[in-house]
Amino acid sequence: MSAQFLIGLLLASPLVGFLINGPRFRSKNAVLAGTIATSAAGVSFICSLVLFAQLLGLAPDQRSLEALFFTWIPVGALKVQAGFVVDQISAIMILIITGVGTLIHLFSIGYMSHDERPAKYFAYLNLFLFNMLILVLGDNLLMTFVGWEGVGLCSYLLIGFWFTDAQKAAAGMKAFIVNRIGDAGFLIGLFLLFFSFGTLDYSELSALVPQLAETSWLGPITLACLFLFIGATGKSAQIPLYVWLPDAMAGPTPVSALIHAATMVTAGVYLIVRMSALFMIAPYAMEVIAWTGALTALFAATIGMTQWDIKKILAYSTVSQLGFMFLAVGVGAFHAAMFHLMTHAFFKALMFLGSGSVIHSMNEEQDVRKMGGLAKVMPITHLTFFLGWLAIIGMPPFAGFFSKDEILAYAFFSPQGSPFLWAIGALAAVFTAFYMTRLMALTFWGKPRYGSEVHPHESPLTMTIPLMVLGFLSVVGGWIGIPHVIGAVLPGHPENHLLNWLKPMITNADLGHPSVLIEWGLMGFAVALAGIAAYVAYDFYVSHKDRPAKFAQSLGPVHGVVENKYYVDEGYFAFIVNPLIEGSKALWLYVDVNFIDKITYLATDLAQGLADFVKTLQNGKTQQYALYMTLGLVVVITYALMGS
């Protein structure tokens, strides 16, 4: 089958699903709507697999399948094609999106079975898939931007899916508005690139790179990269625009798994990896990205340690893990970022679905303080969550270990990296181990703390099958990217397949020859610390339940600040949102009402006054008209006589 047909089918399938489910949005039949949507996603997944197989059959440097559908914008120098390309990077992305997406669609059938509007939900979910595929497949920045906006819209619609709850509707709006700030940055970056290079095509931009060099902070490349990064911070929830993601948990849990953990939020990472050639010649921008990523990883992890809402913990964990990915791209380890993106998609989607399974069986209870001891009643959920937990805290040989280790190694050795970046990343990894163990302990272990009116039960098969598949992937997902230093000592010397796969497409930082001993040392150190942190968390929340409170007390005000998320939301409101609202109100009152409106009133008053005067002339009195005529006659005759 031709690539054109496959890519067309890949894109059209979820769109058709949306078009079928969209008009029947009132339907309450979750199974029918879910089956349609899941099959649409499944068809896409099959297309992705076939495309991937076709790519495998090509020579490594020719792995690119293109599909040009039509010329979208032909305006002077700007010529934008509705063109899509499947290459090494987008192949990984579409496999993740459609693969994990199909599983989450399947999971949703069970999860949304009691919902009022399942067809609408599935329509949105399909629409999201369609837009996400456009985002990653687009062969130019503008196509990507179309998908970028589309997923933002779907994210908004799905966060506010239960919009009758004002808080949830507000969360959707917050996500949309915060994303707009990032999108403005994205657009400015786009303009800068077009202004400087006259093209928005990825391949043309990459081809231009060898002739370019950038040395200053204010050069067009650095500026464009920084603005694109602002776009990425919005979509991928990095400091300072991460605030929408924790609130986005108001949406249905499978949505959190698909959009706000596995796919959409990684769009920023994808964008930078896609533009890796350009970012590599903008070292200042890279530095900003690395530090932003590292600080976000640490910052979000500390907040994650103090939250009580199961989804909020996972949300902050997602922000933190995305920080790791940005740390990776910032130090030039683009393949590691893609690797972590992939493993994270597996284990975080797994954990969100697991939490969805828990929430579903606990009658929508999300507070971990009211859970506990669920391991006995939900064995499959517990087991799969357990695998995800091992993966995220970086225990070998689970998926997260390899990807996180790769990132930390690059953070240490790369020319753009530094021991500080490594230390921040490692500390964030330790905190990750702590809060994830805390989540496990509070949810699944220990004694039940829920009331007798709640009867938790294991979820149906449609929900547990995706969990099992993702659990399996969380275990083996990391094996395709085993770092060289580990592969060298393993039997059979497995190679870093992922790195080899991505090599033709990305420009990694040159590591030189890092010391093998130090690399092993760093790795062992990180794993040991994570293990200790996990043990401490287990001790805190299972064995000695009085310790967390005592420890929190010993921290004094620090704990309060962290528990309240560093008052960032409050700060934004106090310094940005409220002044903006107040300023807008002042503008409205003083400029609009008292100035512009008054000018228009003046004009109307004038016209009305004039009309009032003229009206008195036309009063219907015949003799007055005769007078006017006479006067007119006098004027005309006078004029004629004076002229002669």
């Binding site: 219907g620 009195k621 015949t622 003799q623 005769a626 007078l627 006479t630």
Partner: protein
Amino acid sequence: MLVADRLLHITAEHYLALSAILFSFGMVAVMMRRNVIVMLMGIELMLNAVNLSFIVFARELGSLDGQIMVFFVMTIAAAEAGVGLALAVAIYKKFKELNIRYFEKLKG
């Protein structure tokens, strides 16, 4: 030359002055009087004043144009008088009075 002309030295200016005076009388009647009949008479007076000046010029210039014009004006004046009197009758029938201020009440 006529005998009267020689005796009284009546020239075109005299006729024109008479025409202007008649026209002014007519105009004042139209503007000042309230009675519709009187106003119609004023209009008639104005038209005939104009007729007079037409004839004077026709004679002075030795052209027939002015005299032809007078026939037209007389025809129009007859028609106008017909319409005007009909209106006057309409007003009188409705209001039992012939005041011009009722004119505006005739609409609709």
